[in-house]
Symmetry: C2
Subunit: 247 residues, 2 copies
Protein backbone atom coordinates (compact mmCIF):
# COMPACT_ATOMS: atom_id res chain seq x y z
CA UNK A 1 0.00 0.00 0.00
CA UNK A 2 1.21 3.47 -0.84
CA UNK A 3 1.63 5.59 2.29
CA UNK A 4 1.90 9.31 2.81
CA UNK A 5 5.63 9.60 2.20
CA UNK A 6 5.54 7.77 -1.12
CA UNK A 7 2.93 9.72 -3.03
CA UNK A 8 4.58 11.03 -6.18
CA UNK A 9 2.16 13.86 -7.10
CA UNK A 10 -0.30 15.88 -5.07
CA UNK A 11 -3.48 13.83 -4.62
CA UNK A 12 -6.92 15.29 -5.16
CA UNK A 13 -9.29 16.08 -2.28
CA UNK A 14 -12.19 13.83 -1.29
CA UNK A 15 -15.07 16.24 -0.67
CA UNK A 16 -17.88 14.88 1.52
CA UNK A 17 -20.95 16.56 0.06
CA UNK A 18 -24.24 16.45 1.98
CA UNK A 19 -27.48 16.21 -0.01
CA UNK A 20 -31.04 17.31 0.87
CA UNK A 21 -33.20 15.04 3.06
CA UNK A 22 -36.14 15.34 0.66
CA UNK A 23 -37.67 17.64 -1.92
CA UNK A 24 -36.40 20.96 -0.54
CA UNK A 25 -34.82 23.77 -2.53
CA UNK A 26 -31.03 23.55 -2.18
CA UNK A 27 -30.70 26.96 -0.55
CA UNK A 28 -32.76 25.73 2.40
CA UNK A 29 -30.19 23.13 3.37
CA UNK A 30 -26.86 23.73 1.62
CA UNK A 31 -24.47 26.66 2.03
CA UNK A 32 -23.62 28.28 -1.28
CA UNK A 33 -20.00 27.10 -0.87
CA UNK A 34 -21.09 23.44 -0.68
CA UNK A 35 -23.09 23.92 -3.86
CA UNK A 36 -20.23 25.70 -5.64
CA UNK A 37 -17.85 22.83 -4.89
CA UNK A 38 -20.41 20.26 -6.07
CA UNK A 39 -20.90 22.34 -9.21
CA UNK A 40 -17.22 22.31 -10.05
CA UNK A 41 -16.54 18.56 -9.61
CA UNK A 42 -16.84 16.13 -12.51
CA UNK A 43 -16.10 12.89 -10.67
CA UNK A 44 -18.35 11.41 -8.00
CA UNK A 45 -18.61 8.37 -5.77
CA UNK A 46 -22.27 7.85 -4.95
CA UNK A 47 -24.51 5.47 -3.03
CA UNK A 48 -27.15 5.31 -5.79
CA UNK A 49 -26.55 6.72 -9.25
CA UNK A 50 -30.19 7.63 -9.82
CA UNK A 51 -30.64 9.85 -6.75
CA UNK A 52 -27.15 11.27 -7.20
CA UNK A 53 -28.03 12.38 -10.73
CA UNK A 54 -31.24 14.04 -9.47
CA UNK A 55 -29.15 15.96 -6.92
CA UNK A 56 -26.48 16.98 -9.44
CA UNK A 57 -29.21 18.23 -11.76
CA UNK A 58 -30.36 20.62 -8.99
CA UNK A 59 -26.74 21.64 -8.36
CA UNK A 60 -26.44 22.68 -12.01
CA UNK A 61 -22.92 21.30 -12.56
CA UNK A 62 -20.43 23.02 -14.86
CA UNK A 63 -19.91 19.70 -16.65
CA UNK A 64 -22.86 18.22 -18.59
CA UNK A 65 -24.49 15.51 -16.47
CA UNK A 66 -23.81 12.69 -18.93
CA UNK A 67 -20.07 13.54 -18.92
CA UNK A 68 -19.75 13.34 -15.14
CA UNK A 69 -17.79 10.28 -14.01
CA UNK A 70 -19.85 8.38 -11.46
CA UNK A 71 -18.92 5.29 -9.43
CA UNK A 72 -21.28 3.49 -7.11
CA UNK A 73 -20.30 2.59 -3.56
CA UNK A 74 -23.03 0.73 -1.70
CA UNK A 75 -23.23 -1.79 1.13
CA UNK A 76 -22.78 -4.44 -1.58
CA UNK A 77 -19.45 -3.06 -2.82
CA UNK A 78 -16.67 -5.53 -1.92
CA UNK A 79 -13.91 -4.07 0.30
CA UNK A 80 -11.27 -4.84 -2.34
CA UNK A 81 -13.02 -2.44 -4.74
CA UNK A 82 -12.44 0.55 -2.43
CA UNK A 83 -8.84 0.99 -3.53
CA UNK A 84 -9.93 1.25 -7.19
CA UNK A 85 -12.33 4.02 -6.24
CA UNK A 86 -9.40 6.06 -4.95
CA UNK A 87 -7.56 5.91 -8.30
CA UNK A 88 -8.79 9.30 -9.61
CA UNK A 89 -7.85 10.91 -6.27
CA UNK A 90 -4.36 9.41 -6.34
CA UNK A 91 -4.04 10.73 -9.88
CA UNK A 92 -4.67 14.24 -8.58
CA UNK A 93 -8.39 14.62 -9.28
CA UNK A 94 -10.88 16.11 -6.78
CA UNK A 95 -13.79 13.74 -6.12
CA UNK A 96 -17.17 14.22 -4.43
CA UNK A 97 -18.68 11.59 -2.13
CA UNK A 98 -22.44 11.67 -1.74
CA UNK A 99 -24.78 9.31 0.08
CA UNK A 100 -28.46 8.59 -0.42
CA UNK A 101 -29.58 11.59 1.69
CA UNK A 102 -27.91 13.82 4.26
CA UNK A 103 -24.27 13.67 5.34
CA UNK A 104 -22.03 11.05 3.73
CA UNK A 105 -19.63 8.84 5.72
CA UNK A 106 -21.93 8.75 8.74
CA UNK A 107 -23.13 5.15 9.11
CA UNK A 108 -22.85 4.46 5.37
CA UNK A 109 -20.23 2.73 3.18
CA UNK A 110 -18.55 6.09 2.55
CA UNK A 111 -16.88 5.89 5.98
CA UNK A 112 -14.62 3.02 4.88
CA UNK A 113 -13.65 4.98 1.77
CA UNK A 114 -12.85 8.13 3.78
CA UNK A 115 -10.71 6.07 6.18
CA UNK A 116 -8.82 4.48 3.28
CA UNK A 117 -8.34 7.95 1.76
CA UNK A 118 -6.63 9.05 5.00
CA UNK A 119 -4.32 6.02 4.81
CA UNK A 120 -3.22 7.13 1.35
CA UNK A 121 -2.60 10.72 2.38
CA UNK A 122 -5.62 11.98 0.45
CA UNK A 123 -7.13 15.12 2.04
CA UNK A 124 -10.70 14.53 3.23
CA UNK A 125 -12.88 17.63 3.42
CA UNK A 126 -16.34 17.38 5.05
CA UNK A 127 -18.75 20.09 3.88
CA UNK A 128 -21.69 21.62 5.73
CA UNK A 129 -25.22 20.37 5.03
CA UNK A 130 -28.25 18.69 6.56
CA UNK A 131 -28.02 15.73 8.94
CA UNK A 132 -31.28 14.36 10.28
CA UNK A 133 -29.39 12.91 13.27
CA UNK A 134 -27.81 16.23 14.25
CA UNK A 135 -31.01 18.24 13.64
CA UNK A 136 -33.01 15.78 15.77
CA UNK A 137 -30.45 16.01 18.59
CA UNK A 138 -30.46 19.84 18.45
CA UNK A 139 -34.23 20.06 18.36
CA UNK A 140 -34.74 17.45 21.06
CA UNK A 141 -33.55 19.67 23.89
CA UNK A 142 -32.18 16.46 25.43
CA UNK A 143 -28.44 16.94 24.78
CA UNK A 144 -27.23 18.58 27.96
CA UNK A 145 -23.76 17.05 27.82
CA UNK A 146 -23.34 13.90 25.78
CA UNK A 147 -25.10 11.89 23.09
CA UNK A 148 -24.87 8.63 21.19
CA UNK A 149 -26.27 7.40 17.89
CA UNK A 150 -27.04 3.71 17.46
CA UNK A 151 -28.35 3.39 13.91
CA UNK A 152 -31.07 0.72 13.68
CA UNK A 153 -32.27 -1.25 16.69
CA UNK A 154 -33.17 -4.94 16.26
CA UNK A 155 -36.34 -5.44 14.19
CA UNK A 156 -37.83 -8.32 16.23
CA UNK A 157 -40.22 -7.04 18.88
CA UNK A 158 -38.65 -8.80 21.88
CA UNK A 159 -35.08 -7.89 21.03
CA UNK A 160 -36.14 -4.33 20.23
CA UNK A 161 -37.77 -3.99 23.64
CA UNK A 162 -34.60 -5.21 25.32
CA UNK A 163 -32.51 -2.77 23.27
CA UNK A 164 -34.80 0.13 24.21
CA UNK A 165 -34.57 -0.72 27.91
CA UNK A 166 -30.80 -0.91 27.63
CA UNK A 167 -30.62 2.52 25.94
CA UNK A 168 -32.92 3.99 28.57
CA UNK A 169 -30.57 2.75 31.31
CA UNK A 170 -27.56 4.06 29.46
CA UNK A 171 -29.17 7.47 28.89
CA UNK A 172 -29.49 7.90 32.63
CA UNK A 173 -26.20 6.31 33.66
CA UNK A 174 -24.08 8.27 31.13
CA UNK A 175 -26.28 11.41 31.17
CA UNK A 176 -26.31 11.05 27.38
CA UNK A 177 -29.18 11.40 24.90
CA UNK A 178 -29.57 8.17 22.87
CA UNK A 179 -30.60 8.56 19.22
CA UNK A 180 -31.60 5.84 16.78
CA UNK A 181 -33.56 5.34 13.58
CA UNK A 182 -36.03 2.85 12.15
CA UNK A 183 -37.01 1.88 8.63
CA UNK A 184 -39.95 4.18 7.84
CA UNK A 185 -42.59 1.46 7.52
CA UNK A 186 -41.78 0.19 11.04
CA UNK A 187 -41.93 3.61 12.75
CA UNK A 188 -45.36 2.98 14.20
CA UNK A 189 -44.27 -0.33 15.72
CA UNK A 190 -41.18 1.42 17.14
CA UNK A 191 -43.29 4.13 18.77
CA UNK A 192 -45.56 1.47 20.31
CA UNK A 193 -42.55 -0.44 21.63
CA UNK A 194 -41.09 2.74 23.14
CA UNK A 195 -44.32 3.52 24.97
CA UNK A 196 -44.53 0.00 26.32
CA UNK A 197 -40.87 -0.47 27.22
CA UNK A 198 -39.93 2.90 28.74
CA UNK A 199 -40.60 4.31 32.17
CA UNK A 200 -43.36 6.93 32.17
CA UNK A 201 -41.06 9.83 33.08
CA UNK A 202 -38.44 9.10 30.41
CA UNK A 203 -38.09 11.77 27.72
CA UNK A 204 -38.69 10.80 24.11
CA UNK A 205 -38.20 12.92 21.00
CA UNK A 206 -39.84 11.94 17.73
CA UNK A 207 -38.41 13.89 14.79
CA UNK A 208 -39.67 13.18 11.32
CA UNK A 209 -39.46 14.68 7.83
CA UNK A 210 -36.77 17.04 9.11
CA UNK A 211 -36.16 20.10 6.87
CA UNK A 212 -39.29 19.25 4.84
CA UNK A 213 -42.47 21.32 4.98
CA UNK A 214 -44.12 18.35 6.72
CA UNK A 215 -41.50 18.40 9.53
CA UNK A 216 -42.70 17.05 12.89
CA UNK A 217 -40.48 17.38 15.96
CA UNK A 218 -41.73 16.92 19.48
CA UNK A 219 -40.17 16.05 22.84
CA UNK A 220 -42.45 14.70 25.57
CA UNK A 221 -42.23 12.39 28.51
CA UNK A 222 -43.49 8.86 27.75
CA UNK A 223 -46.63 9.46 29.86
CA UNK A 224 -47.45 12.50 27.70
CA UNK A 225 -46.89 10.51 24.49
CA UNK A 226 -49.28 7.89 25.86
CA UNK A 227 -51.98 10.52 26.49
CA UNK A 228 -51.67 12.41 23.20
CA UNK A 229 -52.87 11.34 19.76
CA UNK A 230 -50.01 9.55 18.08
CA UNK A 231 -48.44 11.29 15.08
CA UNK A 232 -48.72 9.44 11.78
CA UNK A 233 -45.13 8.35 11.16
CA UNK A 234 -45.86 5.84 8.46
CA UNK A 235 -43.26 5.93 5.70
CA UNK A 236 -41.79 9.21 7.00
CA UNK A 237 -38.04 9.13 7.78
CA UNK A 238 -37.77 9.52 11.55
CA UNK A 239 -35.16 9.86 14.27
CA UNK A 240 -35.93 8.93 17.88
CA UNK A 241 -34.08 10.30 20.92
CA UNK A 242 -34.32 8.95 24.49
CA UNK A 243 -33.04 10.53 27.68
CA UNK A 244 -33.59 10.42 31.46
CA UNK A 245 -32.40 12.84 34.10
CA UNK A 246 -29.66 11.34 36.25
CA UNK A 247 -31.43 9.75 39.22
Amino acid sequence: MRTEGEIPGKPGTLFLIPTPLGATPLDWVLPEATRRIAQRLDCYIVEHAKTARAFLKLVDCNTPLQQIEMHELSEHTPAVRLKDLLAPLLAGKDVGLISEAGCPAIADPGADLARLAHRHGIPVKPLVGPSSILLALMGSGLVGQRFAFHGYLPSKAEERTLAIKELEKRAQKDDAAQAFIETPYRNRAMLDSLMQACRTDTWLTVACDLTLTSEFLRTRRIEEWQRQAKPDLDRRPSVFVLWREKG
Copy 2:
Protein backbone atom coordinates in the same frame (compact mmCIF):
# COMPACT_ATOMS: atom_id res chain seq x y z
CA MET B 1 -47.08 25.24 34.43
CA ARG B 2 -48.98 25.85 31.26
CA THR B 3 -49.22 22.71 29.12
CA GLU B 4 -50.03 22.22 25.48
CA GLY B 5 -53.82 22.16 25.84
CA GLU B 6 -54.00 25.45 27.71
CA ILE B 7 -52.15 27.81 25.40
CA PRO B 8 -54.52 30.64 24.50
CA GLY B 9 -52.83 32.03 21.38
CA LYS B 10 -50.45 30.52 18.89
CA PRO B 11 -46.94 30.61 20.33
CA GLY B 12 -43.94 31.76 18.32
CA THR B 13 -41.30 29.35 17.03
CA LEU B 14 -37.93 28.83 18.70
CA PHE B 15 -35.44 28.75 15.82
CA LEU B 16 -32.12 27.06 16.58
CA ILE B 17 -29.67 29.05 14.48
CA PRO B 18 -26.13 27.72 13.94
CA THR B 19 -23.29 30.24 13.74
CA PRO B 20 -19.86 30.01 12.02
CA LEU B 21 -17.01 28.19 13.79
CA GLY B 22 -14.62 31.07 13.14
CA ALA B 23 -13.96 33.91 10.74
CA THR B 24 -15.52 32.37 7.61
CA PRO B 25 -17.88 34.12 5.19
CA LEU B 26 -21.47 33.10 6.02
CA ASP B 27 -22.10 31.50 2.64
CA TRP B 28 -19.39 28.93 3.38
CA VAL B 29 -21.28 27.48 6.31
CA LEU B 30 -24.91 28.65 6.36
CA PRO B 31 -27.66 27.89 3.85
CA GLU B 32 -29.32 31.03 2.55
CA ALA B 33 -32.56 29.98 4.31
CA THR B 34 -30.84 29.92 7.72
CA ARG B 35 -29.51 33.40 7.06
CA ARG B 36 -32.89 34.69 5.86
CA ILE B 37 -34.59 33.50 9.05
CA ALA B 38 -31.85 35.04 11.20
CA GLN B 39 -32.27 38.26 9.22
CA ARG B 40 -35.98 38.47 9.92
CA LEU B 41 -35.91 37.85 13.69
CA ASP B 42 -35.67 40.71 16.17
CA CYS B 43 -35.53 38.73 19.40
CA TYR B 44 -32.64 36.45 20.37
CA ILE B 45 -31.49 34.25 23.21
CA VAL B 46 -27.71 34.07 23.07
CA GLU B 47 -24.81 32.54 24.98
CA HIS B 48 -22.67 35.70 24.82
CA ALA B 49 -24.08 39.04 23.67
CA LYS B 50 -20.80 40.23 22.18
CA THR B 51 -20.22 37.31 19.79
CA ALA B 52 -23.94 37.20 19.00
CA ARG B 53 -23.86 40.83 17.91
CA ALA B 54 -20.82 40.17 15.69
CA PHE B 55 -22.76 37.33 14.02
CA LEU B 56 -25.94 39.37 13.57
CA LYS B 57 -23.91 42.14 11.99
CA LEU B 58 -22.75 39.64 9.32
CA VAL B 59 -26.32 38.43 8.90
CA ASP B 60 -27.41 41.99 8.10
CA CYS B 61 -30.68 41.89 10.06
CA ASN B 62 -33.78 43.75 8.90
CA THR B 63 -34.00 45.37 12.34
CA PRO B 64 -31.21 47.78 13.40
CA LEU B 65 -28.80 45.92 15.69
CA GLN B 66 -29.39 48.17 18.71
CA GLN B 67 -33.16 47.53 18.49
CA ILE B 68 -32.81 43.75 18.57
CA GLU B 69 -33.99 42.25 21.84
CA MET B 70 -31.24 40.05 23.25
CA HIS B 71 -31.27 37.86 26.34
CA GLU B 72 -28.28 35.95 27.63
CA LEU B 73 -28.49 32.27 28.52
CA SER B 74 -25.21 30.88 29.82
CA GLU B 75 -24.10 28.08 32.12
CA HIS B 76 -24.53 30.61 34.94
CA THR B 77 -28.21 31.29 34.20
CA PRO B 78 -30.32 29.87 37.06
CA ALA B 79 -32.90 27.25 35.97
CA VAL B 80 -35.77 29.38 37.30
CA ARG B 81 -34.90 32.09 34.75
CA LEU B 82 -35.57 29.77 31.80
CA LYS B 83 -39.32 30.24 32.01
CA ASP B 84 -38.92 34.04 31.74
CA LEU B 85 -36.91 33.56 28.56
CA LEU B 86 -39.91 31.82 26.99
CA ALA B 87 -42.22 34.81 27.59
CA PRO B 88 -41.82 36.36 24.12
CA LEU B 89 -42.44 32.94 22.52
CA LEU B 90 -45.59 32.38 24.58
CA ALA B 91 -46.73 35.84 23.52
CA GLY B 92 -46.50 34.71 19.88
CA LYS B 93 -43.08 36.06 18.92
CA ASP B 94 -40.50 34.05 16.93
CA VAL B 95 -37.17 33.87 18.75
CA GLY B 96 -33.69 32.78 17.63
CA LEU B 97 -31.39 30.74 19.85
CA ILE B 98 -27.68 31.00 19.14
CA SER B 99 -24.70 29.59 20.99
CA GLU B 100 -21.08 30.69 21.09
CA ALA B 101 -20.16 28.84 17.86
CA GLY B 102 -21.74 26.06 15.83
CA CYS B 103 -25.08 24.38 16.53
CA PRO B 104 -27.05 25.54 19.56
CA ALA B 105 -28.67 23.13 22.04
CA ILE B 106 -25.91 20.54 21.62
CA ALA B 107 -24.08 20.33 24.95
CA ASP B 108 -24.84 23.94 25.84
CA PRO B 109 -27.44 25.63 28.08
CA GLY B 110 -29.79 26.02 25.09
CA ALA B 111 -30.79 22.35 25.40
CA ASP B 112 -32.67 23.00 28.65
CA LEU B 113 -34.47 25.92 27.02
CA ALA B 114 -35.46 23.86 23.98
CA ARG B 115 -36.78 21.09 26.25
CA LEU B 116 -38.82 23.60 28.27
CA ALA B 117 -40.13 25.07 25.01
CA HIS B 118 -41.44 21.60 24.05
CA ARG B 119 -43.20 21.35 27.43
CA HIS B 120 -45.04 24.58 26.68
CA GLY B 121 -46.09 23.53 23.20
CA ILE B 122 -43.69 25.97 21.54
CA PRO B 123 -42.51 24.71 18.13
CA VAL B 124 -38.75 24.13 18.06
CA LYS B 125 -37.14 24.39 14.64
CA PRO B 126 -33.48 23.35 14.22
CA LEU B 127 -31.79 24.97 11.20
CA VAL B 128 -28.88 23.67 9.12
CA GLY B 129 -25.37 24.95 9.79
CA PRO B 130 -21.86 23.94 10.86
CA SER B 131 -21.18 21.50 13.70
CA SER B 132 -17.55 20.71 14.44
CA ILE B 133 -18.64 17.44 16.05
CA LEU B 134 -20.58 16.25 13.00
CA LEU B 135 -17.92 17.44 10.54
CA ALA B 136 -15.21 15.64 12.52
CA LEU B 137 -17.26 12.43 12.58
CA MET B 138 -17.93 12.62 8.82
CA GLY B 139 -14.34 13.39 7.99
CA SER B 140 -12.92 10.76 10.35
CA GLY B 141 -14.00 7.81 8.23
CA LEU B 142 -14.52 6.00 11.54
CA VAL B 143 -18.33 6.01 11.73
CA GLY B 144 -19.26 2.70 10.18
CA GLN B 145 -22.37 2.20 12.24
CA ARG B 146 -22.58 4.08 15.52
CA PHE B 147 -20.99 7.01 17.34
CA ALA B 148 -20.97 8.78 20.67
CA PHE B 149 -19.97 12.27 21.80
CA HIS B 150 -18.65 12.75 25.33
CA GLY B 151 -17.91 16.47 25.60
CA TYR B 152 -14.85 17.12 27.76
CA LEU B 153 -12.85 14.33 29.36
CA PRO B 154 -11.39 14.84 32.87
CA SER B 155 -8.59 17.42 32.93
CA LYS B 156 -6.30 15.63 35.43
CA ALA B 157 -3.75 13.43 33.64
CA GLU B 158 -4.48 10.18 35.50
CA GLU B 159 -8.25 10.43 35.24
CA ARG B 160 -7.95 11.46 31.60
CA THR B 161 -5.86 8.39 30.84
CA LEU B 162 -8.45 6.16 32.49
CA ALA B 163 -11.25 7.87 30.53
CA ILE B 164 -9.35 7.39 27.25
CA LYS B 165 -8.81 3.69 27.94
CA GLU B 166 -12.50 3.33 28.78
CA LEU B 167 -13.53 5.00 25.51
CA GLU B 168 -11.11 2.83 23.56
CA LYS B 169 -12.73 -0.29 25.04
CA ARG B 170 -16.19 1.04 24.34
CA ALA B 171 -15.31 1.94 20.75
CA GLN B 172 -14.43 -1.68 20.10
CA LYS B 173 -17.19 -3.29 22.17
CA ASP B 174 -20.00 -1.12 20.70
CA ASP B 175 -18.39 -0.75 17.25
CA ALA B 176 -18.95 2.99 17.77
CA ALA B 177 -16.63 5.93 17.05
CA GLN B 178 -16.05 7.94 20.25
CA ALA B 179 -15.74 11.71 19.88
CA PHE B 180 -14.70 14.25 22.50
CA ILE B 181 -13.24 17.74 22.82
CA GLU B 182 -10.65 19.52 24.91
CA THR B 183 -10.13 23.15 25.86
CA PRO B 184 -7.79 24.48 23.14
CA TYR B 185 -4.81 25.20 25.40
CA ARG B 186 -4.80 21.57 26.61
CA ASN B 187 -4.95 19.97 23.13
CA ARG B 188 -1.30 19.11 23.12
CA ALA B 189 -1.51 17.37 26.49
CA MET B 190 -4.57 15.49 25.22
CA LEU B 191 -2.73 14.28 22.13
CA ASP B 192 0.19 13.11 24.30
CA SER B 193 -2.19 11.26 26.62
CA LEU B 194 -3.88 9.58 23.67
CA MET B 195 -0.57 8.36 22.28
CA GLN B 196 0.46 6.99 25.64
CA ALA B 197 -2.85 5.46 26.68
CA CYS B 198 -4.11 3.86 23.46
CA ARG B 199 -3.12 0.61 21.81
CA THR B 200 -0.90 1.13 18.78
CA ASP B 201 -3.47 -0.12 16.25
CA THR B 202 -6.34 2.06 17.54
CA TRP B 203 -7.58 4.69 15.09
CA LEU B 204 -7.44 8.35 16.09
CA THR B 205 -8.81 11.35 14.23
CA VAL B 206 -7.59 14.83 15.06
CA ALA B 207 -9.81 17.51 13.54
CA CYS B 208 -9.04 21.14 14.18
CA ASP B 209 -10.09 24.56 12.90
CA LEU B 210 -12.90 22.88 10.95
CA THR B 211 -14.40 25.03 8.14
CA LEU B 212 -11.54 27.55 8.55
CA THR B 213 -8.78 28.00 5.97
CA SER B 214 -6.38 26.51 8.55
CA GLU B 215 -8.47 23.30 8.81
CA PHE B 216 -6.51 20.18 9.77
CA LEU B 217 -8.21 16.78 9.68
CA ARG B 218 -6.32 13.52 9.76
CA THR B 219 -7.11 9.93 10.73
CA ARG B 220 -4.23 7.62 11.55
CA ARG B 221 -3.52 4.63 13.74
CA ILE B 222 -1.84 5.55 17.03
CA GLU B 223 1.48 4.02 15.84
CA GLU B 224 1.38 6.34 12.80
CA TRP B 225 0.64 9.37 15.00
CA GLN B 226 3.64 8.38 17.11
CA ARG B 227 5.91 8.28 14.05
CA GLN B 228 4.72 11.50 12.38
CA ALA B 229 5.50 15.08 13.39
CA LYS B 230 2.73 16.21 15.73
CA PRO B 231 0.43 18.93 14.40
CA ASP B 232 0.46 22.21 16.31
CA LEU B 233 -2.95 22.15 18.02
CA ASP B 234 -2.25 24.91 20.49
CA ARG B 235 -5.27 27.19 20.95
CA ARG B 236 -7.02 25.69 17.92
CA PRO B 237 -10.52 24.27 18.60
CA SER B 238 -10.21 20.51 18.08
CA VAL B 239 -12.36 17.40 18.04
CA PHE B 240 -10.85 13.96 18.68
CA VAL B 241 -12.36 10.67 17.49
CA LEU B 242 -11.30 7.18 18.61
CA TRP B 243 -12.27 3.81 17.13
CA ARG B 244 -11.08 0.22 16.97
CA GLU B 245 -12.21 -2.55 14.68
CA LYS B 246 -14.26 -5.15 16.51
CA GLY B 247 -11.77 -7.81 17.66
